[in-house]
């Protein structure tokens, strides 16, 4: 413990803000007081470490959510195409953010699961060291994936409404092709959902369901984009979108 009467002076000395007279006095004291010398050295270490702390980077979903909110609130001037209804732009942004969030969580679960030996003994330590699997953490991540997945499905529901309206306005042949593709993906989603329900902690099953949901987001986006191209009187753009889906 440093001497009480020098504590403030030691801090000012570490900061370089101490006056010259006081500095001389403290330096003289330091020659004979080991505790104060140790305290000064420690304060300098802490000051240096604080000044060298790295900048932290926010996850990408923060920007996606900001962009989604700005669009939803009509504060963005959409450049090329006529501005589509805000409600499904928000659904796009939400779906995109959730796709990233779920992907990250799946990776986390997958990497944790790989580290968990089948017969991992229970550990008695309160805080497991880095890299050692923690069942509670894996469970928490699984719950987060499930919640995010539900939100993704809700966003898909909203996209589906817009896509349905677009399909009604299209020529019947194109609409039928798109409807057929949506039906195939819906079937795949139903099968994957059943697999996840049977084994909630099965990472490959969750990944497959997530992939199927992602494919549906892309298809719905394309359906809506196709409608926009047709509205703009750009049949070749529309054909390109349909062709790309083949």
């Amino acid at each position: 413990m440093p001497c009480a009467r020098y504590i403030t002076s030691l801090q000012e000395l570490a900061d370089g803000t101490i006056g010259s007279i006081r500095r001389a006095e403290v330096e003289q004291h330091l020659e004979t007081c080991e505790d104060c010398r140790a305290a000064l050295a420690d304060l300098e270490k802490i000051r240096d470490a604080a000044a060298s702390l790295d900048e932290l980077q926010p996850p990408e979903r923060v920007w996606l959510q900001i962009a989604g909110r700005l669009r939803q609130e009509g504060r963005i001037q959409e450049a090329a195409a006529p501005a589509p209804p805000r409600r499904y732009l928000h659904a796009f942004a939400l779906a995109a953010a959730l796709v990233i969030a779920i992907g990250g969580s799946l990776l986390f679960i997958a990497s944790r699961n790989r580290q968990v030996p089948a017969t991992a003994p229970a550990t008695a330590t309160a805080t497991p060291p880095t890299g050692v699997p923690d069942a509670a953490e894996v469970q928490a991540a699984a719950t987060a994936v499930e919640e995010a997945q539900q939100k993704l499905e809700a966003a898909i529901g909203r996209l589906q409404q817009v896509a349905d309206a677009s399909l009604q306005a299209m020529d019947p042949k194109t609409a039928a092709t798109l409807q057929k593709n949506i039906g195939i993906i819906d079937q795949a989603i139903a099968e994957e959902r059943a697999a996840v329900k049977a084994e909630p902690m099965n990472v490959p099953a969750r990944e497959s369901l997530f992939e199927a949901l992602k494919r549906k987001v892309v298809l719905l986006q394309d359906t809506i984009a196709l409608m926009n191209e047709m509205r703009k009187g750009n049949p070749s753009g529309a054909a390109e979108i349909v062709g790309g889906k083949g």
Partner: protein, 201 residues
Amino acid sequence: MTASKLTVRPTAPAAAGSGRMAELALVERVRRGELGAFEELYRTHAGRLYSLACRMLGNPADAEDLLQEIFLAAHRKLDGFRGDAALGTWLYRLATNQILDHLRSRAARAGQLTDALDDTGTIADTASGRLGDRAVTKLDLERALAQLPEGCRAAFLLHDVEGLEHQEVAHVLGIAEGTSKSQVHKARLRLRALLTRGSSA
């Protein structure tokens, strides 16, 4: 509460003129509704503001939510940006105000408003051993920082990490300059105690 003259990390004088013009041009594009321009602004400043929010709040999830609110507020308020201060300083001021409002409402909910930002406390809990030859890693410091009381953590972050002068810290936090000094000093002693405890465990 508004900080009127934050001077952290000033732009080099030679670059300041052209930098300011580029900033005003960017702001004008944001005002016209260009999302790409606002994304550019976000990418330039988000890291620093997120770091501050993360460390001040001690919770990355809250920091993400708040960062979103900070940039949405910035988008709304950019109409009032006249270029008197650098864009980074203007954003930093906006961010610190939002972070502090968040801390105050959190402290009020927990019934500890008085302690939060004007905590003078005692230094009895800072009695400690020595770090000796042990280096203080960034990770050690981040962990210890999260354990500091909010009041002295805020002062320490603004002064020792962000590089504000005590006068500026006092202005931002709405406390006396002397309180800023004592809070920073107390934070360092507490950090020393926490880091020493960590090394002896």
